[in-house]
């Protein structure tokens, strides 16, 4: 018989006395005191509620982020790409937030890169309409002198001139800025334009460089406000002149578009 088992058999009475020591009841006052302390120490929320708390915190954070983002979107304070995305997404749920601001100058320069004349004209028209819708962006004005017949230096925010003509004889030629130059049809269409439209002539339009398109406001029309056109990218070719100071008869550069309408009488007109 193993020694341990032998010991256990011999000391059964001793083990029973030891067991009785562990079975003695706790006095009632002590028991009540212990139970009171245990109930006070026990955590009130369960682990499940704690987990719910984490979910609630996470849900509240997500809702708060969404609400904050929507608020920023409605104020137009998001970065342009995010603002555009927010506009597209929220428009699905009928929430009107401003779209990403589109600079008019950027719009026009982007439109000018179109090779298709019809598409280019359509984009330019869209840019004008967008600006008219009140984006408030100041881009390179389409009302540069000689373009649409408006007075030089007409503010960009004023929108297109009510009498502006968007036909092929008005404004910048479709091929302006392109490397290929006008096609035969385009050239013929341009030639058919009346000479007093104030358009670029073929040679000037062929040599037209987007960097040289901004003409300084010539002081021919004292009544017109002297607001120099704001080039989107390029510096002006010449400093703007003071409207109060009569312009000296200076030959304009060959690639500079002539003043539209209000040329001083002592400046020889450029053949159109």
């Amino acid at each position: 018989m193993p020694s341990f088992t032998r010991v256990m058999t011999e000391h059964d009475d001793l083990t029973q006395r030891l067991g009785a020591l562990g079975g003695a009841p706790v006095p009632d006052p002590v028991r009540d005191q212990h139970l009171h302390a245990m109930r006070a120490a026990a955590p009130a929320p369960t682990a499940e509620r704690r987990r719910f708390g984490r979910f609630a915190v996470a849900a509240a954070a997500i809702v708060g982020f969404a609400a904050g983002s929507t608020g920023f979107a409605m104020a137009g304070a998001l970065p342009d790409p995010a603002q555009g995305v927010a506009h597209d997404v929220l428009s699905v749920v009928q929430v009107d937030v401003p779209d990403r601001p589109s600079g008019h100058g950027l719009c026009m320069s982007t439109a000018a890169k179109q090779t298709d004349p019809a598409a280019k004209k359509a984009e330019q028209q869209a840019c004008k309409e967008a600006k008219q819708a009140g984006t408030g962006e100041r881009g390179r004005s389409a009302d540069a002198p000689g373009k649409t017949g408006d007075a030089p230096g007409r503010p960009a925010e004023a929108g297109p001139h009510p009498n502006a003509d968007t036909s092929d004889c008005k404004g910048r030629p479709a091929w302006a800025g392109t490397k290929g130059g006008p096609s035969a049809e385009q050239r013929a269409a341009r030639d058919a334009c009346p000479p007093d439209e104030g358009e670029l002539d073929e040679q000037q339009s062929d040599e037209a460089d987007p960097q040289r398109q901004e003409a300084p406001a010539t002081p021919a029309d004292p009544a017109a406000p002297d607001t120099s056109p704001q080039p989107p990218v390029d510096p002006p070719a010449a400093p703007p002149a003071d409207p109060a100071t009569p312009a000296e008869p200076v030959d304009p550069p060959a690639d500079t578009p002539p003043a539209d309408g209000g040329q001083p009488e002592d400046v020889p007109p450029v053949d159109g």
Partner: protein, 170 residues
């Protein structure tokens, strides 16, 4: 009875059930070690149990092992705390309840005999027979091997028997 599984709907009853099941053994454990204020130490143990009970999972055996592990650590902390206090009363100087006519479960002669054992023997004997833990549970609670637990338990019982005057079989 799976009292160890916490049920939020009746957490209070679970706490009381655990106390009713194990409080007498824990109190006897501290009394067997002749530690002062065994009721206070028992209360400390069950406050720790109440805090950890919501996250405890296991059967009755695991619950008993867990509770007496807490009691063992609490007892060790108390002994170390008193050892650091030079003015602490020696354990042997404490008044132990003498024999009384009432069946209060206390056995002064046994308690006095337990003082004769070495601390390791007393620890193993009390956990094995007062707390009613298995050899494996005792080994796990004390950090010993099962063989060491058996040896210490056998030697402890022999020493108790010799002190109490229990005649040996030999």
């Amino acid at each position: 009875m799976l009292v160890g599984i916490s049920r939020p709907s009746d957490r209070g009853r679970s706490v009381e059930a655990v106390y009713a099941l194990l409080a007498p053994a824990v109190l006897g454990y501290f009394r067997a070690h002749r530690l002062p204020d065994p009721e206070g130490l028992t209360g400390d143990v069950f406050v720790s149990v109440a805090r950890g009970l919501p996250t405890f999972t296991g059967d009755d055996g695991a619950l008993r092992r867990w509770v007496f592990t807490i009691a063992h650590h609490r007892g060790v902390d108390e002994v170390r705390r008193r050892a650091r206090r030079p003015d602490a009363l020696p354990i042997d100087g404490l008044d132990l309840p003498g024999p009384s006519g009432e069946d209060d479960g206390l056995d002064p002669a046994l308690l006095e005999a337990l003082a004769v054992l070495t601390p390791d023997q007393r620890e193993v004997v009390v956990l094995r027979h007062v707390a009613d833990l298995s050899v494996a549970d005792v080994a796990r609670a004390t950090g010993r091997s099962e063989g060491s637990v058996k040896m210490l338990c056998a030697r402890g019982l022999d020493a108790l028997a010799a002190h109490l005057g229990v005649p040996s079989p030999d």
